[in-house]
Structures are given as structure tokens and as C-alpha cells.
Assembly symmetry: C2
Homo-oligomer: 251 residues x 2
DNA sequence: TTAGCTGAGTGTCATAAACACACTTTCAAA
DNA sequence: TTTGAAAGTGTGTTTATGACACTCAGCTAA
């Protein structure tokens, strides 16, 4: 439990980390960005984890979360939201976690509280590349993830729940889509996040009533069916709804 | 990391604390439990703060939050929910905060990340008493709190927002009321939390439609007006609504 | 004893949102 | 020119919302 902080600015805080659930969407399903730190000697399986790092003592938590995102993906200015802190004393207690900690951390025994975030990125903005602390990174379909290092699987489930809750009261889903998109793509996105089928006509009516979409003079091209109208979202209206929410319980 | 519980003091984690926004309701307005650590030498004003403490290395965050609640109020088994982590490097940077830290902390310069919780208590369950790290504790009307130590004022505002959001999708408000209560008391509670007037008839209709209340064969006595029907809430239905939520955006 | 005060309790109508549901259109490829 | 694939569109029913005003029961004080 060190706290020898002579040189605060440059020092990693060995007790607090950030883990960042990065969501993407490919018009078909939700993905999560994972890093693979190699084959575990104890389990013989790849050791998949969510990107994260210890924080520096001179950065805020939000800055640290943005830094991790930037270091890994090279992109900035991404939708980012805190999920909360995870601090079970045994959260890093699996054998394969200990093995990794010994090889990577100056104080492998230190108790680390992690602050989890989730972010929403447009999948084609990001071209995975190796980061300084993982051998590789890549998108994994959310429904195919069944096990992760540390308590990352649990954090992922919390992130999904929070996203589900949030998308019903703020139009943040647009962060997962490109500038121009079709109503069907948006529809599929909502179905993927909420994990259930939504009636097409009712969905379209509701979204259009929010008046958050601007139809473009443009259609899909080259598709083997009736081409779809493209939309962009209305930034102004979006800001308004984002701050007010559009909650509806009635009170 | 030692797990020698004989000497807990050695296991205090100097980098992570818990702060707990404790809400109460007196049938008229919302209150927050504050501790007063004495007159600040630098400001000459009382130094009011939310109860909190560093965590021990062998407890989970939830356990630490419960411990703080128990140490201060003597009560257990309280509704408790995490708000999130607050970690601005300058969150303890006010002069009056530094003064206090020097007198109370082994490592006054250490950067401390705090994990905030809020809890809902039945006000008459709690009889304020001095705790080990504050000279006194007491209920303050939420609307009369304008300044607090550290970043506690900001945390309080987040807590109010979270409570507002939450009460619309889960019936957690009941935690602030005694076993038996009237519809008017519940109505006033919702108005206090949401900070706006709600139509009496519409409110009663909606709450009764949730079928979460069981009318008792009991009325108020000794009131100088028509005595009010008392209700208790239906635990079973409450659990069901709590887990499902009763969100209503329509999707 | 009665008049007056206080808050409890109650119903309806108009409007808006939700939900369920099936066929036609447009384009590309075979 | 036929076929397959997804886009796009409307209505009727049901349910929830929001606005709104008077009577009732019990206490107190004249």
C-alpha cells in the first residue's frame, strides 16, 4: 500500500483503475471491444479482457477513461459514461488474473478498485491496432462473450443494463451509427440493445414523432431491394432531448 | 496484502473512501444527514460534510457503505445504492478541507477517490448520535444545503438526480416511509423528490393502479380533519416491480 | 351546540399514446 | 420477366394521461 507521492504528476496510482466497455454496432448486432493478452498458462485459453489501465494521479477519472480509449483506438471525442465503481477485494482473484498481474504490475498484490465506463463508437471509425498493454484488440459480438478476465464479465452485464435503461430516456444510440443511416438500421440497433423485437410501424412512428431525424435527399444505392431513405439526426433537437430526457412515466 | 483483521487500522486503504448521502423524509420535506466536524479555522464557518470514511482493504464497497451507515446511525439493512465514483484530483483542494485532512488523516496529501452511495432511511428509525469522526450529526433540509466540504455538494446533487430518476421506475420511495402511511404522505414524498406539484387525483389513481398498496383497517386518529386511510405496501408486488421496473417509454 | 377550519376523498371527459396487424413498392439478380 | 428481399405505409382499439371542483369527517373554539 504505497503512498509515496513525491512526483505526483507522473505517478500511476496502483489502487485505482479504469475499465472501459466499448460498444460498437455493425447494423446487425452489438459488439464489445476486447483485448487479448495472450494464452493463459493456467487455463490454456486466451485471456480476454476489457481495455483498462491504472489511473495517473494528476488526471480525473473521465480523463483517464478518455485516455484509455484514445491509446487503444486512436479516437477522441467519444460518448463516454461512467457505470460505477467495482471493488470486491477478490475481483482479481482468479489464478489466470494473478499470473497476468505478476507479469504486468509493479505491485501485483495491491488491491485495485476499478471505475467502469462504457463508450459508444461508430464501428468504422475504428481500426483495431495493438496497444501498449495488450497484444491485440478486436470486436467481439456481445452475445458470444461468456467469460472475461477479472470481474469484466460482470461489468459488461452492468454496462448492457445501463445502456438499455439509458436508451429509453436519451437518444444516445445515434453515437453507434454513422452520420447517415436508415430507419431500419436504427430499428435494428434498438432491437439489439433492448434484446427484443419491436414492431416496425410503431417504432418508425415513435422515432419520427420525436422529430430528431432529418430526412436527406439521398437513398441507399446498389441494394437488391427497394432503397431506403437516409436520415441524419438533428443536433439541436438531440441536445434538447439529451438534457431533458424523454421519460414518460407520467409524473 | 494482509488479512489480519485484528488490526484493522493497518488495513485502511488511504486512496479510496466512501461517502454516503443519507436521505430522510418527515412527511413535509426531504432531509440529508450531515456531520459537522467543527468550526473551520480558515472560514470561521461550521464544516458540514456527508458521512464517509476510508475503506478497509478487506471489505467490499457495499460493505464499507453499510458500515459507515451503521457506525453513524446504528441501523442496518437499509436501502443503499451506489451513485458512482468521484475522483477529481482537486476534489479535496479547498483550504478548509486541507486543514481538516491534516488533523484527521495519516496521509493528508494522498489523492482519494471516493465512491458515493445514497441510502433511504425512515427518519424515526434514527436518533442522531456522535460518531467517531464527527463531533455531531443531524438532519438538514435538503433545500437549505448550499455548501459542503470537499465535493460533497456536487455528490448530493447527483444523488438527488439519481433518486428522481429511480423513483420513476422503481417504487423505492417506500423506504423513506414508516410501515403504515397515508396516500397523502406518499404523495408529498413524490412531490418532494420530483420537486414539482402533482395532481392529487391523478397521483392516487396511478399509485393504486400499481396495486402495490394494501389498505389497512386503520385510520389516522386525533387529526383535526377527516382521518386518512392507512396503507402498507405489498412486499411481493413490490419485489416484482422492483426487479422489473415499471418503465413505460413503450419499447 | 354549532360554525368554521382542515385536509381526505372522489369521477368524468377529452386527448394522446400504445399496440396489433398485412399489403404494396422498388430494386437487383437470375 | 420473374423472383427474392427489404422498404414503406394506415387504421381501429385500447389504455393512460391530464385537467378539473365539490362533499365529507373530525376537531376546535366561540
Amino acid at each position: 500500500m504505497s503512498s509515496n507521492k513525491k512526483n505526483k504528476a507522473l505517478e500511476l496510482n496502483p489502487n485505482v483503475s479504469i475499465d472501459n466497455i466499448i460498444f460498437g454496432f455493425d447494423f446487425d448486432q452489438l459488439y464489445c471491444l476486447l483485448i487479448d493478452s495472450g494464452i493463459s498458462k493456467t487455463t490454456g485459453r486466451p485471456r480476454l479482457a476489457v481495455p483498462g489501465d491504472l489511473i495517473y494521479d494528476n488526471e480525473t477519472l473521465d480523463e483517464a477513461a478518455n485516455r484509455i480509449l484514445k491509446e487503444l483506438t486512436g479516437i477522441d471525442n467519444i460518448y463516454l459514461e461512467q457505470i460505477g465503481a467495482f471493488g470486491d477485494p477478490n475481483r482479481m482473484g482468479k489464478e489466470s488474473d494473478k499470473e497476468w498481474l505478476k507479469s504486468m504490475r509493479a505491485e501485483p498484490e495491491a488491491r485495485v478498485i476499478t471505475v467502469a465506463y462504457f463508450s459508444l463508437v461508430k464501428m468504422d471509425d475504428f481500426n483495431p491496432k495493438a496497444s501498449s498493454f495488450a497484444e491485440s484488440a478486436g470486436w467481439a459480438p456481445i452475445n458470444e462473450i461468456h467469460e472475461l478476465a477479472f470481474d469484466h464479465y460482470e461489468i459488461l452485464q452492468c454496462a448492457r443494463e445501463q445502456l438499455k435503461r439509458k436508451i429509453k430516456i436519451q437518444p444516445i444510440g445515434f453515437n453507434l451509427l454513422p452520420e447517415k443511416f436508415t430507419l431500419s438500421q436504427l430499428h435494428k440497433l434498438y432491437e439489439s440493445i433492448l434484446n427484443k423485437a419491436l414492431d416496425k410501424r410503431n417504432f418508425r412512428r415513435k422515432i419520427l414523432n420525436l422529430q430528431i431525424l432529418t430526412p436527406l435527399n439521398e437513398k441507399q444505392v446498389g441494394v437488391p431491394h427497394k432503397p431506403s431513405q437516409l436520415f441524419e439526426f438533428n443536433e439541436e433537437k438531440y441536445q434538447k432531448l439529451s438534457s431533458e430526457g424523454f421519460d414518460n412515466f407520467g409524473f
